[in-house]
Protein backbone atom coordinates (compact mmCIF):
# COMPACT_ATOMS: atom_id res chain seq x y z
CA UNK A 1 0.00 0.00 0.00
CA UNK A 2 1.45 3.40 -0.97
CA UNK A 3 1.88 6.17 1.58
CA UNK A 4 -0.65 8.21 -0.40
CA UNK A 5 -3.27 5.46 -0.19
CA UNK A 6 -2.63 5.13 3.56
CA UNK A 7 -3.04 8.87 3.99
CA UNK A 8 -6.27 8.79 2.01
CA UNK A 9 -7.61 6.03 4.24
CA UNK A 10 -6.53 8.00 7.32
CA UNK A 11 -8.51 10.96 5.98
CA UNK A 12 -11.60 8.78 5.55
CA UNK A 13 -11.30 7.47 9.11
CA UNK A 14 -10.82 10.99 10.39
CA UNK A 15 -14.00 12.07 8.54
CA UNK A 16 -15.91 9.19 10.09
CA UNK A 17 -14.84 10.36 13.56
CA UNK A 18 -15.78 13.95 12.77
CA UNK A 19 -19.18 12.80 11.53
CA UNK A 20 -19.62 11.16 14.93
CA UNK A 21 -19.24 14.62 16.47
CA UNK A 22 -15.50 14.82 17.20
CA UNK A 23 -13.56 18.07 16.97
CA UNK A 24 -10.23 17.68 15.14
CA UNK A 25 -7.19 18.50 17.29
CA UNK A 26 -3.43 18.61 16.76
CA UNK A 27 -0.56 17.85 19.14
CA UNK A 28 3.12 18.77 18.96
CA UNK A 29 5.37 15.96 17.75
CA UNK A 30 7.86 16.80 20.48
CA UNK A 31 6.59 16.12 23.99
CA UNK A 32 8.39 16.85 27.26
CA UNK A 33 10.00 13.56 28.26
CA UNK A 34 9.35 14.11 31.94
CA UNK A 35 5.58 13.63 31.72
CA UNK A 36 5.88 10.42 29.74
CA UNK A 37 8.68 9.07 31.92
CA UNK A 38 6.64 9.76 35.00
CA UNK A 39 3.71 7.92 33.50
CA UNK A 40 5.41 4.89 32.01
CA UNK A 41 8.74 4.56 33.78
CA UNK A 42 12.13 3.87 32.29
CA UNK A 43 10.63 1.40 29.84
CA UNK A 44 9.34 4.24 27.72
CA UNK A 45 12.93 5.11 26.80
CA UNK A 46 13.13 1.71 25.18
CA UNK A 47 9.93 2.41 23.27
CA UNK A 48 9.99 6.12 22.42
CA UNK A 49 12.61 8.21 20.66
CA UNK A 50 14.29 10.59 23.02
CA UNK A 51 16.05 13.74 21.98
CA UNK A 52 17.61 16.57 23.86
CA UNK A 53 17.17 20.30 23.76
CA UNK A 54 19.60 22.54 25.63
CA UNK A 55 16.78 24.85 26.76
CA UNK A 56 13.67 22.66 26.96
CA UNK A 57 15.41 19.59 28.29
CA UNK A 58 14.70 16.04 27.24
CA UNK A 59 11.99 15.67 24.62
CA UNK A 60 10.28 12.63 23.17
CA UNK A 61 8.79 12.11 19.76
CA UNK A 62 5.16 11.47 20.73
CA UNK A 63 4.57 7.74 21.12
CA UNK A 64 0.80 8.38 21.18
CA UNK A 65 -1.74 11.20 21.15
CA UNK A 66 -3.65 10.27 24.27
CA UNK A 67 -1.36 12.06 26.72
CA UNK A 68 -1.22 15.42 24.86
CA UNK A 69 -4.96 15.27 24.10
CA UNK A 70 -5.77 14.65 27.77
CA UNK A 71 -3.47 17.50 28.78
CA UNK A 72 -5.10 19.81 26.27
CA UNK A 73 -8.56 18.87 27.50
CA UNK A 74 -7.61 19.28 31.15
CA UNK A 75 -6.42 22.81 30.36
CA UNK A 76 -9.94 24.02 29.80
CA UNK A 77 -11.84 21.87 27.33
CA UNK A 78 -15.63 22.10 27.34
CA UNK A 79 -17.59 19.10 28.63
CA UNK A 80 -18.55 16.67 27.37
CA UNK A 81 -15.94 16.65 24.62
CA UNK A 82 -15.19 14.47 21.60
CA UNK A 83 -11.83 14.85 19.88
CA UNK A 84 -10.24 13.26 16.86
CA UNK A 85 -6.66 13.40 15.60
CA UNK A 86 -4.77 12.09 12.63
CA UNK A 87 -1.01 12.08 12.51
CA UNK A 88 2.21 10.13 12.89
CA UNK A 89 3.51 8.57 16.10
CA UNK A 90 6.99 7.18 16.60
CA UNK A 91 7.86 4.00 18.45
CA UNK A 92 11.08 2.10 18.77
CA UNK A 93 10.47 -1.58 18.09
CA UNK A 94 12.17 -4.74 19.22
CA UNK A 95 15.12 -4.88 16.83
CA UNK A 96 14.42 -8.43 15.74
CA UNK A 97 10.79 -7.89 14.78
CA UNK A 98 11.29 -5.17 12.20
CA UNK A 99 7.96 -3.40 12.69
CA UNK A 100 7.35 0.17 11.48
CA UNK A 101 8.83 2.81 13.74
CA UNK A 102 6.77 5.68 12.31
CA UNK A 103 3.11 5.27 11.48
CA UNK A 104 -0.17 7.15 11.40
CA UNK A 105 -2.73 6.95 14.17
CA UNK A 106 -6.28 8.17 13.76
CA UNK A 107 -8.04 8.39 17.08
CA UNK A 108 -11.25 9.30 18.86
CA UNK A 109 -11.39 10.33 22.53
CA UNK A 110 -14.53 10.99 24.56
CA UNK A 111 -14.53 12.92 27.85
CA UNK A 112 -17.89 12.67 29.55
CA UNK A 113 -19.04 12.69 33.18
CA UNK A 114 -22.33 11.00 32.43
CA UNK A 115 -23.01 7.27 32.41
CA UNK A 116 -19.69 5.57 31.64
CA UNK A 117 -21.38 2.53 30.15
CA UNK A 118 -22.96 4.74 27.48
CA UNK A 119 -19.60 6.34 26.66
CA UNK A 120 -17.95 2.92 26.45
CA UNK A 121 -20.67 1.73 24.12
CA UNK A 122 -20.49 4.87 21.98
CA UNK A 123 -16.75 4.52 21.40
CA UNK A 124 -16.77 0.77 20.87
CA UNK A 125 -19.70 0.73 18.47
CA UNK A 126 -18.16 3.60 16.49
CA UNK A 127 -14.97 1.59 15.98
CA UNK A 128 -16.94 -1.61 15.44
CA UNK A 129 -19.05 -0.12 12.68
CA UNK A 130 -16.15 1.59 10.92
CA UNK A 131 -14.11 -1.60 10.96
CA UNK A 132 -16.91 -4.09 10.31
CA UNK A 133 -16.34 -4.28 6.51
CA UNK A 134 -12.77 -5.51 7.08
CA UNK A 135 -13.73 -8.74 8.83
CA UNK A 136 -11.33 -8.30 11.74
CA UNK A 137 -11.09 -10.32 14.93
CA UNK A 138 -12.55 -8.40 17.86
CA UNK A 139 -11.58 -8.67 21.52
CA UNK A 140 -12.87 -6.94 24.62
CA UNK A 141 -11.89 -7.00 28.27
CA UNK A 142 -12.25 -5.09 31.52
CA UNK A 143 -9.26 -4.20 33.66
CA UNK A 144 -11.62 -2.78 36.30
CA UNK A 145 -12.83 -6.28 37.11
CA UNK A 146 -9.38 -7.43 38.15
CA UNK A 147 -8.68 -4.42 40.34
CA UNK A 148 -12.12 -4.77 41.95
CA UNK A 149 -11.42 -8.45 42.61
CA UNK A 150 -8.13 -7.53 44.28
CA UNK A 151 -9.89 -4.93 46.40
CA UNK A 152 -12.33 -7.60 47.49
CA UNK A 153 -9.70 -10.05 48.79
CA UNK A 154 -9.54 -10.46 52.53
CA UNK A 155 -5.92 -9.51 52.96
CA UNK A 156 -3.83 -6.49 53.91
CA UNK A 157 -3.95 -3.20 52.04
CA UNK A 158 -0.24 -3.57 51.40
CA UNK A 159 -0.76 -6.83 49.56
CA UNK A 160 -3.62 -5.33 47.58
CA UNK A 161 -1.49 -2.36 46.58
CA UNK A 162 1.35 -4.58 45.44
CA UNK A 163 -1.00 -6.78 43.43
CA UNK A 164 -2.64 -3.80 41.79
CA UNK A 165 0.70 -2.31 40.88
CA UNK A 166 1.59 -5.51 39.04
CA UNK A 167 -1.67 -5.94 37.14
CA UNK A 168 0.12 -4.96 33.95
CA UNK A 169 2.99 -7.38 34.51
CA UNK A 170 1.32 -10.80 34.50
CA UNK A 171 4.50 -12.69 35.45
CA UNK A 172 5.08 -10.69 38.63
CA UNK A 173 1.36 -10.66 39.37
CA UNK A 174 1.29 -14.45 39.25
CA UNK A 175 4.32 -14.70 41.50
CA UNK A 176 2.77 -12.40 44.11
CA UNK A 177 -0.51 -14.27 43.96
CA UNK A 178 1.30 -17.57 44.55
CA UNK A 179 3.09 -16.14 47.58
CA UNK A 180 0.08 -14.44 49.05
CA UNK A 181 -2.06 -17.53 48.74
CA UNK A 182 0.58 -19.84 50.22
CA UNK A 183 1.03 -21.74 46.95
CA UNK A 184 4.70 -20.78 46.79
CA UNK A 185 7.21 -20.60 49.63
CA UNK A 186 8.68 -17.30 50.67
CA UNK A 187 12.12 -16.56 49.23
CA UNK A 188 14.85 -18.36 51.23
CA UNK A 189 16.87 -15.16 51.60
CA UNK A 190 13.83 -13.37 52.93
CA UNK A 191 13.18 -16.13 55.41
CA UNK A 192 16.82 -15.84 56.48
CA UNK A 193 16.49 -12.09 56.98
CA UNK A 194 13.31 -12.54 59.00
CA UNK A 195 15.06 -15.11 61.21
CA UNK A 196 17.92 -12.73 61.69
CA UNK A 197 15.75 -9.80 62.72
CA UNK A 198 13.56 -11.90 64.98
CA UNK A 199 16.67 -13.11 66.87
CA UNK A 200 18.01 -9.64 67.57
CA UNK A 201 16.32 -6.63 66.11
CA UNK A 202 16.43 -5.00 62.72
CA UNK A 203 18.45 -2.03 63.92
CA UNK A 204 21.22 -4.30 65.18
CA UNK A 205 21.34 -6.07 61.81
CA UNK A 206 21.47 -2.71 60.12
CA UNK A 207 24.31 -1.59 62.39
CA UNK A 208 26.34 -4.55 61.16
CA UNK A 209 25.98 -3.29 57.62
CA UNK A 210 27.53 0.13 58.28
CA UNK A 211 28.54 2.51 56.82
CA UNK A 212 25.10 3.32 55.52
CA UNK A 213 25.12 5.14 52.18
CA UNK A 214 22.74 6.85 49.84
CA UNK A 215 19.48 8.72 49.57
CA UNK A 216 17.32 5.82 50.74
CA UNK A 217 17.44 6.22 54.50
CA UNK A 218 17.88 3.74 57.33
CA UNK A 219 14.31 4.53 58.39
CA UNK A 220 13.09 3.42 54.97
CA UNK A 221 15.04 0.17 55.20
CA UNK A 222 13.63 -0.50 58.68
CA UNK A 223 10.12 0.34 57.51
CA UNK A 224 10.39 -2.22 54.75
CA UNK A 225 11.80 -4.85 57.12
CA UNK A 226 8.78 -4.22 59.33
CA UNK A 227 6.48 -4.60 56.35
CA UNK A 228 8.16 -7.90 55.45
CA UNK A 229 7.63 -9.09 59.01
CA UNK A 230 4.01 -8.07 58.90
CA UNK A 231 3.61 -9.77 55.56
CA UNK A 232 5.17 -13.01 56.78
CA UNK A 233 2.61 -13.06 59.60
CA UNK A 234 -0.32 -12.41 57.27
CA UNK A 235 -2.74 -15.24 56.67
CA UNK A 236 -2.82 -16.58 53.13
CA UNK A 237 -5.58 -15.43 50.81
CA UNK A 238 -8.41 -17.97 51.29
CA UNK A 239 -8.64 -20.58 48.55
CA UNK A 240 -12.22 -19.76 47.65
CA UNK A 241 -11.32 -16.11 47.09
CA UNK A 242 -8.26 -17.05 45.09
CA UNK A 243 -10.48 -19.28 42.95
CA UNK A 244 -12.52 -16.23 41.90
CA UNK A 245 -9.37 -14.43 40.74
CA UNK A 246 -8.25 -17.55 38.89
CA UNK A 247 -11.65 -17.92 37.27
CA UNK A 248 -11.57 -14.27 36.29
CA UNK A 249 -8.10 -14.53 34.74
CA UNK A 250 -9.17 -17.62 32.82
CA UNK A 251 -12.34 -16.05 31.37
CA UNK A 252 -12.17 -16.47 27.63
CA UNK A 253 -15.47 -16.67 25.83
CA UNK A 254 -18.30 -14.35 25.00
CA UNK A 255 -19.18 -11.24 26.97
CA UNK A 256 -22.62 -12.62 27.84
CA UNK A 257 -21.12 -15.85 29.21
CA UNK A 258 -18.50 -13.90 31.17
CA UNK A 259 -21.26 -11.96 32.87
CA UNK A 260 -23.09 -15.15 33.76
CA UNK A 261 -19.93 -16.75 35.19
CA UNK A 262 -19.05 -13.67 37.24
CA UNK A 263 -22.58 -13.36 38.62
CA UNK A 264 -22.14 -16.88 39.94
CA UNK A 265 -18.97 -16.09 41.92
CA UNK A 266 -19.28 -12.36 42.67
CA UNK A 267 -20.45 -12.76 46.28
CA UNK A 268 -17.28 -14.55 47.29
CA UNK A 269 -15.37 -11.25 47.09
CA UNK A 270 -16.48 -8.21 49.01
CA UNK A 271 -17.67 -5.38 46.80
CA UNK A 272 -16.92 -7.30 43.60
CA UNK A 273 -20.56 -7.29 42.52
CA UNK A 274 -20.32 -3.53 41.86
CA UNK A 275 -17.72 -4.20 39.15
CA UNK A 276 -19.90 -6.94 37.71
CA UNK A 277 -22.82 -4.48 37.71
CA UNK A 278 -20.63 -2.13 35.65
CA UNK A 279 -19.97 -4.92 33.19
CA UNK A 280 -23.68 -5.64 32.91
CA UNK A 281 -24.55 -1.97 32.35
CA UNK A 282 -21.90 -1.76 29.64
CA UNK A 283 -23.19 -4.88 27.93
CA UNK A 284 -26.73 -3.52 28.08
CA UNK A 285 -25.54 -0.28 26.48
CA UNK A 286 -23.58 -2.20 23.84
CA UNK A 287 -26.62 -4.33 23.04
CA UNK A 288 -28.69 -1.16 22.71
CA UNK A 289 -26.20 0.16 20.14
CA UNK A 290 -26.60 -2.96 18.07
CA UNK A 291 -23.69 -5.10 19.28
CA UNK A 292 -24.44 -8.81 19.70
CA UNK A 293 -23.06 -9.47 23.18
CA UNK A 294 -23.81 -13.18 22.83
CA UNK A 295 -21.05 -13.42 20.26
CA UNK A 296 -18.80 -10.54 21.42
CA UNK A 297 -15.45 -12.06 22.53
CA UNK A 298 -14.34 -11.25 26.06
CA UNK A 299 -11.11 -12.08 27.90
CA UNK A 300 -10.63 -10.79 31.42
CA UNK A 301 -6.87 -10.60 31.05
CA UNK A 302 -6.98 -8.90 27.64
CA UNK A 303 -4.89 -5.75 27.51
CA UNK A 304 -2.85 -6.53 30.58
CA UNK A 305 0.48 -6.56 28.82
CA UNK A 306 0.28 -3.66 26.44
CA UNK A 307 -2.17 -1.00 27.55
CA UNK A 308 -0.78 0.43 30.70
CA UNK A 309 -2.98 3.43 31.26
CA UNK A 310 -6.30 1.72 30.70
CA UNK A 311 -8.17 0.92 33.88
CA UNK A 312 -11.63 -0.19 32.77
CA UNK A 313 -13.19 -1.36 29.52
CA UNK A 314 -10.61 -2.29 26.85
CA UNK A 315 -11.00 -3.40 23.25
CA UNK A 316 -8.94 -4.36 20.24
CA UNK A 317 -9.37 -5.26 16.58
CA UNK A 318 -6.90 -7.62 14.97
CA UNK A 319 -5.89 -9.04 11.63
CA UNK A 320 -4.17 -12.25 12.65
CA UNK A 321 -1.80 -11.06 15.37
CA UNK A 322 -1.53 -7.51 13.98
CA UNK A 323 -3.24 -4.87 16.05
CA UNK A 324 -5.36 -2.71 13.74
CA UNK A 325 -7.17 -0.73 16.41
CA UNK A 326 -7.23 -0.59 20.18
CA UNK A 327 -8.71 1.49 22.92
CA UNK A 328 -10.25 1.66 26.33
CA UNK A 329 -11.15 3.65 29.40
CA UNK A 330 -8.46 5.63 31.19
CA UNK A 331 -10.10 7.56 34.02
CA UNK A 332 -7.00 7.36 36.23
CA UNK A 333 -4.77 8.89 33.56
CA UNK A 334 -6.83 12.06 33.55
CA UNK A 335 -6.36 12.24 37.31
CA UNK A 336 -2.59 11.86 37.00
CA UNK A 337 -2.36 14.52 34.28
CA UNK A 338 -5.10 16.73 35.64
CA UNK A 339 -3.21 18.01 38.70
CA UNK A 340 -6.01 17.31 41.12
CA UNK A 341 -8.83 17.31 38.60
CA UNK A 342 -10.08 14.35 36.65
CA UNK A 343 -12.74 13.35 34.17
CA UNK A 344 -13.90 9.94 32.99
CA UNK A 345 -12.45 9.28 29.54
CA UNK A 346 -12.55 6.56 26.92
CA UNK A 347 -11.08 6.42 23.44
CA UNK A 348 -9.17 4.47 20.87
CA UNK A 349 -6.93 4.58 17.80
CA UNK A 350 -6.85 2.97 14.39
CA UNK A 351 -3.66 2.34 12.42
CA UNK A 352 -4.49 3.11 8.80
CA UNK A 353 -1.23 1.57 7.53
CA UNK A 354 -2.03 -1.93 8.74
CA UNK A 355 -5.73 -1.49 8.01
CA UNK A 356 -4.91 -0.55 4.41
CA UNK A 357 -2.86 -3.73 4.11
CA UNK A 358 -5.91 -5.77 5.15
CA UNK A 359 -7.85 -4.24 2.27
CA UNK A 360 -11.10 -5.93 1.41
CA UNK A 361 -13.74 -3.84 3.01
CA UNK A 362 -12.60 -0.32 2.11
CA UNK A 363 -15.45 1.64 0.61
Amino acid sequence: MTPVAIKTLAGQLSNAFMNAGAVPVEAPALQPAEVLLDLYGEDIRGRAYVTDDPVNGEQMLRPDFTVPVVQMHMNGGAEPARYTYNGPVWRKQEPTIGRATEYLQVGYELFDRNDSSLSDAEVFSLFYNILRPYGLRTMTGDIGLLSAAIDGLSTTDRRKERLKRQIWRPMRFRQLLDWYSGKADNLPTRVALLDQVSGSDAEAVLNDAQPFLGVRSEAEVLARVASLQEDAATAPIPAKELAVVEELLALNGTAADALKTLRGVQDRLEGFSTAVDCLEMRLTALAASGIDIKSLPFEANFGLTSMEYYDGFVFGFFDGENVIASGGRYDALTQVLGQGRSIPAVGGVIRPDVLAAVGGGAS
Binding site: R165, L187, A223
Partner: protein, 238 residues
Protein backbone atom coordinates in the same frame (compact mmCIF):
# COMPACT_ATOMS: atom_id res chain seq x y z
CA UNK B 1 49.34 -5.67 0.40
CA UNK B 2 47.28 -6.36 3.49
CA UNK B 3 43.68 -7.30 2.88
CA UNK B 4 42.32 -8.43 6.22
CA UNK B 5 42.00 -5.91 9.02
CA UNK B 6 42.28 -7.12 12.60
CA UNK B 7 41.12 -4.64 15.24
CA UNK B 8 42.66 -4.94 18.70
CA UNK B 9 42.37 -2.77 21.81
CA UNK B 10 44.77 0.14 21.57
CA UNK B 11 46.17 -0.10 25.06
CA UNK B 12 46.30 -1.68 28.45
CA UNK B 13 46.08 -5.23 29.71
CA UNK B 14 43.49 -6.19 27.15
CA UNK B 15 45.99 -5.39 24.42
CA UNK B 16 48.85 -7.24 26.12
CA UNK B 17 46.75 -10.34 26.70
CA UNK B 18 45.47 -10.25 23.14
CA UNK B 19 49.02 -10.14 21.84
CA UNK B 20 49.99 -13.01 24.15
CA UNK B 21 47.06 -15.10 22.98
CA UNK B 22 47.93 -14.64 19.31
CA UNK B 23 51.64 -15.24 20.07
CA UNK B 24 50.66 -18.59 21.62
CA UNK B 25 49.11 -19.41 18.25
CA UNK B 26 52.20 -18.43 16.28
CA UNK B 27 50.86 -15.10 15.16
CA UNK B 28 52.95 -12.21 16.31
CA UNK B 29 51.20 -8.87 16.77
CA UNK B 30 53.53 -6.02 17.56
CA UNK B 31 53.44 -2.31 17.93
CA UNK B 32 55.60 -0.32 15.54
CA UNK B 33 57.05 3.12 16.03
CA UNK B 34 56.96 4.68 19.47
CA UNK B 35 54.97 3.38 22.42
CA UNK B 36 52.40 6.07 21.87
CA UNK B 37 51.90 5.54 18.18
CA UNK B 38 48.83 3.51 17.31
CA UNK B 39 50.25 1.37 14.56
CA UNK B 40 51.23 -2.24 14.49
CA UNK B 41 52.47 -5.14 12.44
CA UNK B 42 51.55 -8.78 12.06
CA UNK B 43 53.94 -11.60 11.33
CA UNK B 44 53.31 -15.30 11.05
CA UNK B 45 50.47 -14.88 8.56
CA UNK B 46 50.38 -12.86 5.35
CA UNK B 47 47.92 -10.21 4.33
CA UNK B 48 46.79 -9.10 7.78
CA UNK B 49 46.81 -5.50 8.93
CA UNK B 50 46.68 -4.61 12.62
CA UNK B 51 44.32 -1.76 13.54
CA UNK B 52 44.53 -0.31 17.05
CA UNK B 53 41.20 0.90 18.35
CA UNK B 54 39.52 1.69 21.63
CA UNK B 55 37.72 -1.49 22.78
CA UNK B 56 34.50 0.52 22.83
CA UNK B 57 34.87 1.46 19.15
CA UNK B 58 35.42 -2.08 17.94
CA UNK B 59 31.72 -3.13 17.90
CA UNK B 60 30.69 -0.38 15.50
CA UNK B 61 33.74 -0.89 13.31
CA UNK B 62 32.78 -4.56 13.03
CA UNK B 63 29.20 -3.66 12.27
CA UNK B 64 30.27 -1.23 9.55
CA UNK B 65 32.67 -3.81 8.15
CA UNK B 66 35.66 -1.48 8.38
CA UNK B 67 37.52 -4.30 10.14
CA UNK B 68 37.16 -8.00 9.37
CA UNK B 69 38.05 -9.26 12.83
CA UNK B 70 38.02 -7.49 16.16
CA UNK B 71 38.89 -8.23 19.78
CA UNK B 72 36.55 -6.78 22.38
CA UNK B 73 34.31 -7.73 25.30
CA UNK B 74 30.98 -9.50 24.85
CA UNK B 75 29.44 -6.84 27.10
CA UNK B 76 30.29 -4.10 24.61
CA UNK B 77 29.09 -6.14 21.63
CA UNK B 78 25.75 -6.94 23.28
CA UNK B 79 25.24 -3.37 24.49
CA UNK B 80 26.18 -1.57 21.31
CA UNK B 81 24.83 -4.02 18.73
CA UNK B 82 21.32 -5.13 19.77
CA UNK B 83 21.21 -7.32 16.65
CA UNK B 84 24.74 -8.60 17.19
CA UNK B 85 24.00 -12.14 16.09
CA UNK B 86 23.13 -10.87 12.64
CA UNK B 87 26.15 -8.61 12.39
CA UNK B 88 29.06 -10.47 13.91
CA UNK B 89 30.05 -13.99 14.86
CA UNK B 90 31.90 -14.94 18.00
CA UNK B 91 34.92 -16.88 16.75
CA UNK B 92 36.85 -17.35 19.94
CA UNK B 93 36.41 -16.82 23.64
CA UNK B 94 39.87 -15.66 24.71
CA UNK B 95 39.73 -16.66 28.37
CA UNK B 96 40.62 -13.25 29.76
CA UNK B 97 38.93 -9.92 30.30
CA UNK B 98 36.33 -11.68 32.44
CA UNK B 99 33.67 -9.32 33.66
CA UNK B 100 30.16 -9.77 34.98
CA UNK B 101 27.57 -7.11 34.35
CA UNK B 102 25.62 -7.01 37.59
CA UNK B 103 23.17 -4.91 39.57
CA UNK B 104 24.41 -3.78 42.97
CA UNK B 105 22.78 -1.90 45.83
CA UNK B 106 24.11 -0.44 49.09
CA UNK B 107 25.18 -3.07 51.60
CA UNK B 108 23.02 -1.28 54.17
CA UNK B 109 19.88 -2.31 52.32
CA UNK B 110 19.46 -5.38 54.48
CA UNK B 111 15.92 -5.77 53.15
CA UNK B 112 17.11 -6.22 49.57
CA UNK B 113 18.57 -9.41 48.18
CA UNK B 114 16.99 -9.93 44.77
CA UNK B 115 15.19 -8.27 41.86
CA UNK B 116 11.83 -8.86 43.55
CA UNK B 117 13.06 -6.81 46.52
CA UNK B 118 14.43 -4.13 44.23
CA UNK B 119 11.05 -3.86 42.52
CA UNK B 120 9.28 -3.40 45.85
CA UNK B 121 11.85 -0.83 46.95
CA UNK B 122 11.39 1.05 43.65
CA UNK B 123 7.71 1.53 44.51
CA UNK B 124 8.46 2.54 48.10
CA UNK B 125 11.21 4.92 46.98
CA UNK B 126 9.02 6.66 44.44
CA UNK B 127 6.27 7.19 47.01
CA UNK B 128 8.70 8.52 49.61
CA UNK B 129 10.89 10.69 47.43
CA UNK B 130 8.68 11.74 44.54
CA UNK B 131 11.03 10.48 41.86
CA UNK B 132 12.05 7.10 40.56
CA UNK B 133 14.90 5.15 42.04
CA UNK B 134 18.02 5.84 39.97
CA UNK B 135 20.29 3.12 38.61
CA UNK B 136 23.62 4.39 37.29
CA UNK B 137 25.13 2.55 34.33
CA UNK B 138 26.73 2.84 30.94
CA UNK B 139 24.98 -0.34 29.74
CA UNK B 140 21.58 1.23 29.08
CA UNK B 141 20.25 -1.31 26.58
CA UNK B 142 21.31 -4.39 28.50
CA UNK B 143 20.01 -3.13 31.84
CA UNK B 144 16.70 -1.93 30.44
CA UNK B 145 16.15 -5.20 28.59
CA UNK B 146 17.02 -7.24 31.68
CA UNK B 147 14.67 -5.33 33.97
CA UNK B 148 11.87 -5.22 31.42
CA UNK B 149 12.00 -9.00 31.08
CA UNK B 150 11.62 -9.20 34.86
CA UNK B 151 8.71 -6.78 35.04
CA UNK B 152 10.54 -3.95 36.80
CA UNK B 153 9.49 -0.52 35.55
CA UNK B 154 9.53 2.00 38.39
CA UNK B 155 13.15 3.10 38.08
CA UNK B 156 15.24 5.41 35.95
CA UNK B 157 18.63 4.95 34.41
CA UNK B 158 21.22 7.66 34.85
CA UNK B 159 24.29 7.65 32.68
CA UNK B 160 27.62 6.94 34.32
CA UNK B 161 30.64 6.41 32.12
CA UNK B 162 33.13 5.75 34.88
CA UNK B 163 33.70 5.41 38.64
CA UNK B 164 30.13 4.15 38.78
CA UNK B 165 30.69 2.53 42.18
CA UNK B 166 30.93 6.02 43.71
CA UNK B 167 27.51 7.31 42.67
CA UNK B 168 25.61 6.00 45.70
CA UNK B 169 27.92 7.74 48.09
CA UNK B 170 27.71 10.88 45.98
CA UNK B 171 23.90 10.68 46.15
CA UNK B 172 23.52 10.74 42.37
CA UNK B 173 21.99 7.26 42.17
CA UNK B 174 20.58 4.61 44.52
CA UNK B 175 21.89 1.52 42.74
CA UNK B 176 24.32 0.66 39.97
CA UNK B 177 24.62 -1.73 37.05
CA UNK B 178 28.25 -2.17 36.15
CA UNK B 179 30.89 -4.73 35.29
CA UNK B 180 32.90 -6.36 37.99
CA UNK B 181 35.52 -9.08 37.98
CA UNK B 182 36.47 -9.74 41.60
CA UNK B 183 33.82 -7.60 43.29
CA UNK B 184 36.51 -5.81 45.26
CA UNK B 185 35.66 -2.30 44.09
CA UNK B 186 32.03 -2.96 44.92
CA UNK B 187 32.86 -4.10 48.43
CA UNK B 188 35.21 -1.17 48.96
CA UNK B 189 32.31 1.10 48.08
CA UNK B 190 29.91 -0.71 50.43
CA UNK B 191 27.80 -2.21 47.66
CA UNK B 192 26.45 -5.75 47.32
CA UNK B 193 25.38 -7.68 44.24
CA UNK B 194 21.76 -8.79 43.94
CA UNK B 195 21.59 -12.58 44.12
CA UNK B 196 19.74 -12.78 40.80
CA UNK B 197 21.23 -9.58 39.42
CA UNK B 198 23.69 -11.09 36.95
CA UNK B 199 22.86 -9.53 33.60
CA UNK B 200 25.70 -10.89 31.49
CA UNK B 201 28.89 -12.88 31.96
CA UNK B 202 31.39 -11.44 29.59
CA UNK B 203 34.93 -12.07 28.46
CA UNK B 204 37.18 -10.84 25.67
CA UNK B 205 36.44 -12.55 22.36
CA UNK B 206 37.45 -12.40 18.73
CA UNK B 207 34.47 -11.39 16.63
CA UNK B 208 34.18 -11.64 12.85
CA UNK B 209 32.27 -9.07 10.83
CA UNK B 210 29.61 -10.15 8.34
CA UNK B 211 29.64 -6.74 6.67
CA UNK B 212 33.37 -6.64 5.89
CA UNK B 213 34.59 -7.10 2.34
CA UNK B 214 35.39 -10.81 2.27
CA UNK B 215 37.34 -10.81 -0.98
CA UNK B 216 39.18 -13.96 -2.01
CA UNK B 217 42.38 -12.48 -0.61
CA UNK B 218 40.70 -11.68 2.70
CA UNK B 219 39.36 -15.22 2.86
CA UNK B 220 42.83 -16.58 2.18
CA UNK B 221 44.30 -14.49 5.01
CA UNK B 222 41.47 -15.58 7.31
CA UNK B 223 42.11 -19.19 6.38
CA UNK B 224 45.78 -18.77 7.30
CA UNK B 225 44.84 -17.39 10.74
CA UNK B 226 42.20 -20.07 11.26
CA UNK B 227 44.74 -22.79 10.43
CA UNK B 228 46.79 -21.64 13.41
CA UNK B 229 43.97 -20.85 15.81
CA UNK B 230 41.69 -23.73 14.94
CA UNK B 231 38.71 -21.49 14.15
CA UNK B 232 35.83 -22.82 12.13
CA UNK B 233 36.07 -20.87 8.86
CA UNK B 234 32.50 -21.76 7.90
CA UNK B 235 31.20 -19.58 10.75
CA UNK B 236 31.80 -16.51 8.64
CA UNK B 237 30.03 -17.91 5.55
CA UNK B 238 32.04 -15.33 3.58
Amino acid sequence: MSVLKLGVPSKGRLQEKTMDWFADHEIKLSRTGSDREYSGAVSGVDGVELVMLSAGEIPKELKAGRIHLGVTGEDLIHEKLPLWEREVVNLQKLGFGHADLIIAVPKGWIDVDCIEDLDAVCAQFRTNHGYRLRIATKYHNLVRGFLRARGVADYQLVDSQGATEGVVKNLTAEAIADITSSGETLRANHLKILSDGLILQSQACVFGSFAADWSDDAKTAFGAIAAKTGWDVTKLKG
